[in-house]
Each structure stands twice: as C-alpha cells, then as structure tokens.
C-alpha cells in the first residue's frame, strides 16, 4: 500500500529536513531511496515533488549545497543550515503533535506488540 499524494503534500518538507538532519548531506536520488527503504516502499517521493521542494528549501536558506562533478554531470548535495536545524526541530515537533491529535480524533488504538 502506498499513501496518496494528498497525505504526503503537507509533510514533504518535514521528511526531507529530518532526513538531512540524520544523514548530514544527501543528494536527490539518495533521498528518494532512503525514504523507500525506511518506509518499506510505502512512501515513494516523486521527482516532481522532491526537486521543487529542495529548490524552495535552498531559496529559504534552510539548506546549503555543495557540488560534486561526476564526469560531465554535477551532483548536488544538500546539507542543513543552522536555520534549517532549528526549523527541522519545529517541523518535527509540529508533525508529532498533529499525529497525536489525529490519533485522538480518529480514535486509533495503538497496535499491540
């Protein structure tokens, strides 16, 4: 089962920021693969959503970039800026609170292990 894009839209920035916070520096393809791996393929970031979001995060100065040349092409690595680190904490906290509210609202019982 994969989740709808509607559900993912509001969480994409948080997902990317958190991954960058856990992995220091990453490039686009690596981010998509990491998300697939961590969610057992349930969340698949599309290129159409990922790259515009990375571009916006860079414009907002939440990430810094560095370029590595691989033959004729360049690979852009993204790393959290100081501002980005603060924002990540805020975003993760916000999403966590939201999820708690949703659990209460939808009366979802935690799975018994």
């Amino acid at each position: 089962m994969t989740y709808s894009t509607e559900l993912l839209k509001g969480t994409l920035k948080t997902i990317i920021l958190k991954l960058l916070s856990d992995n220091k520096k990453m490039y686009g393809y690596e981010i998509t693969q990491k998300v697939k791996e961590l969610t057992s393929d349930k969340i698949q970031l599309t290129e159409g959503a990922l790259y515009p979001t990375l571009h916006a995060l860079e414009a907002d100065k939440l990430v810094t970039t560095e370029i590595e040349y691989i033959g004729k092409r360049m690979r852009k690595y993204y790393r959290l800026s100081l501002e980005g680190k603060i924002k990540t904490k805020e975003k993760v906290k916000e999403l966590s609170n939201f999820m708690e509210s949703m659990v209460s609202l939808l009366d979802i019982k935690p799975k018994k292990s």
């Binding site: 490039y27 686009g28 393809y29 998509t32 599309t46 290129e47 159409g48 959503a49 790259y51 515009p52 979001t53 990375l54 571009h55 916006a56 860079e58 414009a59 691989i70 033959g71 004729k72 092409r73 360049m74 690979r75 852009k76």
Partner: protein, 172 residues
C-alpha cells in the same frame, strides 16, 4: 553497471531542456537522477534511448514541465493563498451569497421584537435576484465535465494573492 557516454549525458540534458525545464538547478538534479537510474538498470545490450524515454515518463503525469511549474509555484507564490477546487468555489460562493444571507439574518434579528420575523417578499426577491446569476455561473463552471476543458479543472490548485491576483494551476 552501464557507463553513460558524454553524448548520452548531453542527449538527456538537451531533452530535459526541450521538455520545458529551464531552472538550471532542476536540470542538473534531474540529469543526475536519470543518469543514476540508467546506470543502475540499463543492460550493456539494451537500447539507451528506449530505456531513457521509459524512465522519463515516470517523472510526470502529463509532461515534464510540471516540475518546472511546481518549482516556480513554490519559489514565487509563497505569499499567495492556496486553495483546492472545492475550497475555492466555497469561497467565491460565500463572497457572492454571504452578504445576502447576512442581511437577511440581520433583518430577522432587528425585527424580532416587533414579531415581524418573516422576511418580506421584496427582500427575498432582491436576495434571490442578485445571488441567482453568480450562483448559476459558478454552478456551470463547477459542473463542466472534464471533456469540455473547464475553466477550473478537477484537482487543480488555485492561488490567490497579489501579482497575479488569481492563478489556476492544473493537476500535478
């Protein structure tokens, strides 16, 4: 692992640009992304172009320029309010009909004491006359089937703000 030649890398980049990706940052990111997929999945005897076109198709719903459009939305329209189709229609409907409903409620409230709580026919008539046409036009726009290319397609995103005041972005 397949090793892409410089000509093949150039071919991919040219195609990305021809498909409407004008932001250099996005061009380079997409180029790298596609190259990795090709290098990891293309066999030595497979056809490069055939494989490339099958890969690039998975990047979009209608065409590749959607990614450019989405980039511009996120970069340029930060101060715009974003609505989905239903929210936008509800907003416009409220703007047109809201004042009449508010006026009628106010009228009932003011005349409650004099036990004239029923709204006179002329007030009803004016409300209906003024609200009817905008409502009908909105209803037609809302219900236009996709095959007739409606003004606001289903699943589109509507941006409201300054410069431009309104922008309708088709489905991504």
């Amino acid at each position: 692992m397949y090793c892409l030649s410089d000509q093949e890398v150039d071919f991919i980049l040219k195609d990305i640009i021809a498909c409407g990706i004008i932001t250099e940052d996005i061009q380079n990111n997409l180029l790298d992304h596609i190259c990795i997929i090709i290098e990891q999945n293309l066999g030595q005897n497979d056809d490069f172009k055939e494989f490339y076109f099958s890969v690039i198709k998975t990047f979009y719903r209608h065409d590749l320029s959607e990614i450019e459009e989405q980039t511009r939305i996120l970069s340029n329209y930060k101060k715009h309010l974003v609505f989905n189709r239903m929210q936008f229609f509800l907003l416009v409907f409220s703007i047109f009909i809201g004042p009449f409903i508010a006026y009628n409620i106010l009228w009932i409230d003011v005349n409650w004491q004099s036990s004239r709580w029923d709204i006179p026919i002329d007030i009803w008539g004016n409300s209906v006359a003024y609200a009817l046409w905008p409502s009908l036009i909105l209803l037609v726009i809302f219900l236009t089937p996709e095959k007739f290319e409606p003004l606001i397609p289903k699943k589109s995103t509507i941006l409201l703000g300054i410069k431009p005041f309104i922008r309708i972005i088709p489905d991504f």
